[in-house]
Symmetry: C2
């Protein structure tokens, strides 16, 4: 029996790859039927593209893997609350469920959408899974950059 | 002297390529110093990717062209009001100006963001340029699909 913490550990591993590459350490995976079908970590600096977020890379990989453009049976795990762009991408994907770790008061979608539900009506949402691990990684990254 | 209608005609030409490919007919271009540096049209069906919107394709092409991840001196022309995802992508790009044609009450970003400004604080926004041409193309597309 897999659970959210198990899969979030995999998303955190993706985030650690971003950290090692000196990218903002955010990672994401997409799961269908307890199987990880796609992975992504933030590659904004490497690709010189501010839209190369972990979620976008994982979603695009998932569309390619299943050969379809909707993911109603999938769950996306991401270590930090998605931004507005990634939130919009997940809306279009009709993803079944989203699980995130740490809230992001500055860049998370909620500071713009407020009380409005920006995802597909059937999408389920869970926040706060392994939140402290995600926050630790982000803090370590920004602390290192301030030096 | 170029003007918004001139560049929007180019975005509409991109939209017509989408129409011919049986994609929702939306087109976008990115302009710097009166020069078109990137183009994109909706390719959601072709790429089996619901995030392959005209704006995303044009932005990614622009980042590649200038070799940088911010576009403060650029203007993006798009035939229809951007969705929430594209709005978020433009936020990250710090694009200087956005010009769109037709409003989109169903999928446009404004129905979610309401009064909040979702773009970079310095981004300028103009709507309604060659609106009727964009609307005609969209109506022709959806009318043909209903048959």
């Amino acid at each position: 029996m897999y659970d959210d913490e198990y899969f979030m550990q995999h998303a955190l591993r993706e985030a650690s790859y971003a950290f090692e590459a000196e990218e903002v350490p955010i990672g994401a995976i997409v799961v269908i039927d307890n199987k990880i079908i796609a992975r992504g970590h933030n590659q904004v600096e490497r690709l010189n593209d501010p839209t190369a977020h972990a979620e976008i890379i994982a979603l695009t990989s998932a569309f390619n893997y299943i050969g379809a453009k909707y993911l109603p049976d999938a769950c996306l795990y991401v270590t930090v609350e998605p931004c507005l762009m990634c939130c919009g991408a997940m809306y279009w994907s009709k993803i079944g469920r989203i699980v995130y770790g740490a809230a992001d008061e500055k860049n998370g979608y909620k500071h713009i959408t407020g009380e409005k539900w920006p995802f597909h009506p059937k999408t389920q949402l869970t926040g706060g899974v392994l939140e402290e691990e995600a926050v630790s990684l982000m803090r370590a990254f920004f602390k290192a950059r301030r030096r």
